[in-house]
Symmetry: C2
Subunit: 408 residues, 2 copies
């Protein structure tokens, strides 16, 4: 995409009223726009990242054999009355109509699956969706980390017995770590014990260490296991060690053995007449996006991992008033696109060199390529990774091969 | 996908309370589930179709140079008060909170673009989104044709003057017909004059002829132009002919020259100090899906066009108790998938031949391939197009080449 065409612009100043790094950088770089507290528009650069995170999550869910569906946001009152949750504070309700807005979907997915699961042969089954959720959130102050409207992946599984749920639950754990690894968050994301509810002692959260986090966790370095402060009793529940690290962290996923909590009220029973056993598994897509920004940035801006960067390459044309540079830039832009690279091409004529380089640092595309009169004098371009200080000159005729080598 | 894995099942009986063909067939075939009046879940087969329609529309929007964004559904009251539309009946409001649910986005997109369009050099600009809309709809009775929650593409364009809007408007018209042509609706979809509002005599709708339609249009066969009953005065507004055909039709798109109706209240002004000129352009994605079902079906079920079929091929294994058929079916399924075909593979053991063929007709995938003991005796499979009566035997070793020929 040509930057001259992109309708968004960067801002030099931090937006008023935003205290989180993710909101500051995402707004300044034109990835999102704040409509109201906890409510954001995704602009072209931001939406590209959202879609890439969705694709990574979708691939892992498909690999689990889960089937993608799309459930509504308007939820009938009667579904929520069946489970006694109509009056929870999380739910926005429609004025004068018998609908609430979906902040989770157990009350919808359970009677839905009941229509189709008619015998033990149909089990186990798992379905998921990637969908906009709404949540009456009094403390919407952390940018994309805690919103009133956000994109989530929610997966639900149904099993004939606890053993089968336990097996599937372990598979989901692995799938979740594959997601965090793909995003470059694997090293700082911990499986974390959290409160379990009626049917198991603990549930599991996935917590990513960052000072922007609102949770406190205690990490056992030996077990690589964390415990949420809410259930922490001073020692690692696995090895008993008291030598733990206290960290602030953000919850980037949770998985929950629900048992029969929702299948019982809907009389969703198995062959033996007792309710099926159910699990639910959430990942906040837009929260993950905010978490990546919180954990991958410097004073100049964001630093996207290749896997979810809005573009792979930021090609910057610096002509210094020389008209011979632009055609070479256009040519290289076309070549790179034909070779399958996603390129943001800064062909803006009215910007200074400094403005262009500052924008590139702020936007944070992993690889910067400068084409200028100076580099062209060497038949070259200048390559620089966003996360590195040093740059190098590469001959234009060798560029595509080198980029392909690097991508391996 | 293996049909034994798919969690949905077909139903023999029409669902109670659904009078429209699209809802009846889509529910019976397991494409959608009705949660409440005008509120549907998209099941795996249905969601695949939704995504394909989205992709077709997205490609045409991108070709227009429009930039994709994703605006929120929770709309602040103050935005709608600015234009005096806070109290329109279409809008669901949140109980006790200053939000309405988006049924259109002029009140959001206008102040958004105002932030970024700072000079005449930034014009024209167009943005679009593909998003879930909510609409307080008293008459939600036509399946996907008129819902309370539905997926829509909405495009908005901003221009310095009327001429520029007029040019863009004509480009959008062409893009819309490309969409309808891709879906096989081009021949029965008419550009239709409808009421225009303050800034132009007419707006334009795109109306697809079907008895399920709730609109009445008058088609001039000579001009290939229709007029909506709401603005019809007995003759073709273009050629004056009174020899017109009256038809029932469903509105599958509308485009509107808004003039300064929304730019003025938000003081979104151009260089000369007067408000910019704006256009808006909508296509209901899920309504299009319903329209395709209404116009492409027979007494046995749906007949999907190749472009948006949930799968390109329905491979049906009929073993008649012979264990040698299944491995050959599996093998063919793998080969077809490796060759890049999207295949639904009916490998279900418990179904009779009749049940399988009835399901295939109901689901309506364009090409059916039967592999059975009888066809294998000829080293062949049986090919039949959903829309044709006759079938033919094709040698397995020639199958892939023939399919690729057909796909050209």
């Amino acid at each position: 995409m040509k930057q001259s065409h992109l309708f968004t612009k960067t801002q030099k100043e931090n937006p008023a009223g935003e205290i989180s790094i993710n909101a500051q950088y995402l707004i300044r770089a034109g990835f999102v726009d704040k409509l109201s507290s906890g409510i954001y528009t995704f602009l072209p650069l931001g939406l590209r990242v959202v879609k890439k995170i969705q694709d990574i999550v979708r691939n892992e869910m498909d690999a689990l054999g889960a089937q993608e569906i799309l459930m509504p946001s308007l939820h009938p009152k009667e579904n929520w009355e069946t489970t006694g949750r109509w009056d929870v504070e999380e739910m926005y309700k429609i004025d004068g109509e018998p609908y609430g807005l979906g902040w989770t979907h157990e009350e919808i997915v359970t009677p839905l699956l009941k229509k189709f699961i008619l015998s033990g042969k149909d089990l186990p089954k798992a379905v998921y969706q990637i969908q906009t959720k709404f949540r009456n959130e009094p403390r919407a102050k952390s940018g994309l980390l805690r919103g009133r409207e956000f994109v989530m992946k929610d997966l639900y599984s149904f099993h004939e017995n606890q053993d089968d749920l336990d097996d599937y639950y372990e598979q989901v754990k692995e799938a979740y770590f594959k997601v965090y690894n793909s995003l470059g968050l694997g090293e700082i994301t911990y499986l974390t014990l959290a409160s379990g509810g009626t049917f198991s002692k603990y549930s599991h959260e996935f917590q990513t260490i960052t000072n922007a986090g609102e949770d406190i966790i205690y990490i056992c370095p030996k077990c690589k296991l964390a415990t949420n402060k809410e259930v922490f009793d001073g020692k690692c529940p696995q090895c008993g060690s008291t030598n733990l690290e206290e960290k602030k962290a953000i919850e980037v996923g949770n998985i929950f053995k629900l048992g029969t909590k929702y299948t019982a009220p809907f009389a969703f029973n198995g062959q033996n007449g007792s309710p099926l056993v159910m699990g639910c598994y959430g990942i906040g897509i837009t929260r993950l996006l905010g978490t990546v920004v919180e954990t991958m940035n410097d004073t100049k801006g964001m630093i996207w991992p290749q896997s979810i960067a809005p573009f792979a390459i930021h090609l910057i044309q610096i002509d210094g008033g020389d008209e011979s540079v632009a055609p070479k830039g256009e040519e290289l832009y076309d070549i790179l696109q034909k070779e399958g690279f996603e390129v943001l091409y800064d062909n803006r004529g009215e910007k200074t060199v400094g403005e262009k380089l500052n924008d590139a640092d702020l936007i944070g595309i992993p690889l910067r390529i400068i084409i200028s009169k100076k580099t062209l004098a060497e038949d070259s371009v200048e390559l620089k990774e966003r996360k590195e200080e040093k740059s190098s000159l590469v001959k234009i005729k060798e560029l595509v091969n080198q980029l392909k080598e690097n991508a391996k």
